[in-house]
Symmetry: C2
Subunit: 185 residues, 2 copies
């Protein structure tokens, strides 16, 4: 069976609910590992996967999401969780209200010692105020293109239609189906 490696229960629940709905069961695997510093999540995720591949003898994947703000040279990018837990959304508004921004999710799949990456992006801008209490993290200050609501004002169903995380997950799912891996999971 395919495993998702994460220490974040929220992440596991969201992702497993989605994949289960497509008839793909996944395991939850908690493993501690060190992430390197780099300018983008792709590099970090691939490095982490390679380290984990030495310890895990079954197919697994990692998921990582970052917010990249144009007027702040891509900040907070790969450090999105750290920045959320230190300076928080109010300070992001002080610095970057109105700036273009995008969310990017990177999934790295390790399958028989090979590594495959799938990404999903969502373009939008930083709002002028915190709005909405749905979602989590930067959702209440991010307005996707072609929307007049923040992600924090969207239901899960609305969000899943456009979100970076679900685009990346859909690519992972299609890869598994196309490569007939599914029967072996």
């Amino acid at each position: 069976m395919l495993s998702l490696v994460t220490s974040n229960e929220h992440k596991y629940k969201e992702i497993s609910t989605y994949l289960n709905s497509k008839n793909l069961e996944i395991n939850w695997l908690q493993r501690k590992y060190e992430e390197i510093q780099a300018d983008d999540n792709d590099t970090i995720s691939l490095d982490s996967s390679k380290k984990l591949a030495n310890k895990i003898n079954a197919p697994f994947f990692l998921e990582d999401t970052g917010l990249y703000i144009t007027n702040l040279a891509g900040f907070p990018g790969p450090y999105s969780s750290y920045v959320q837990s230190t300076i928080g959304n109010e300070n992001i508004l002080k610095m970057a209200s109105g700036s273009k921004a995008y969310f990017k999710t990177v999934i790295t799949l390790c399958w028989k010692k090979n590594f495959y990456q799938f990404s999903g992006t969502l373009n939008g801008k930083i709002s002028s105020a915190i709005s909405g209490n749905l979602g989590f993290g930067y959702d209440p200050i991010f307005i996707p293109d072609n929307s007049n609501k923040t992600m924090g004002e969207m239901t899960t169903v609305e969000k899943n239609k456009i979100s970076h995380r679900f685009i990346a997950l859909e690519k992972l799912y299609l890869f598994i189906v196309e490569n007939r891996i599914k029967n072996n999971l």
Copy 2:
């Protein structure tokens, strides 16, 4: 001879000038290595040193400095260089003018496969405006305790008397002298 591992020429010059004045010559060694993510510089520096110790067959040390802002839960801490090059000093002022803060330097010395850490801190606060064009990085927005000038308004001589970096360097130097390592360098 003792080597300083860094890709930052400015850092090498500042540190070697100081140690040379104490009659301790050092080499400049440029090595690429990956830094892990962690909440403090001590952990990152020790991890990097252990990785480098597998590749370098001579005594070496690393130096790393971070700014920890109290009102921002220690941000930017270990990500100080990244944050300086993305959001910069003006945005730090928007978020944290008047907040307590401290600089911390960590030096890790690798000597015969043992690791020794030396740190230096400097307490102060974030200024209300950018001031001074001496120094670099966060110097123009940091006012040390018992001072009415930012570090950016201080000469090198003034700065060296109180700075976190020189406190840590002085500890490194004393350790080398006390342990009679100097004659073997």
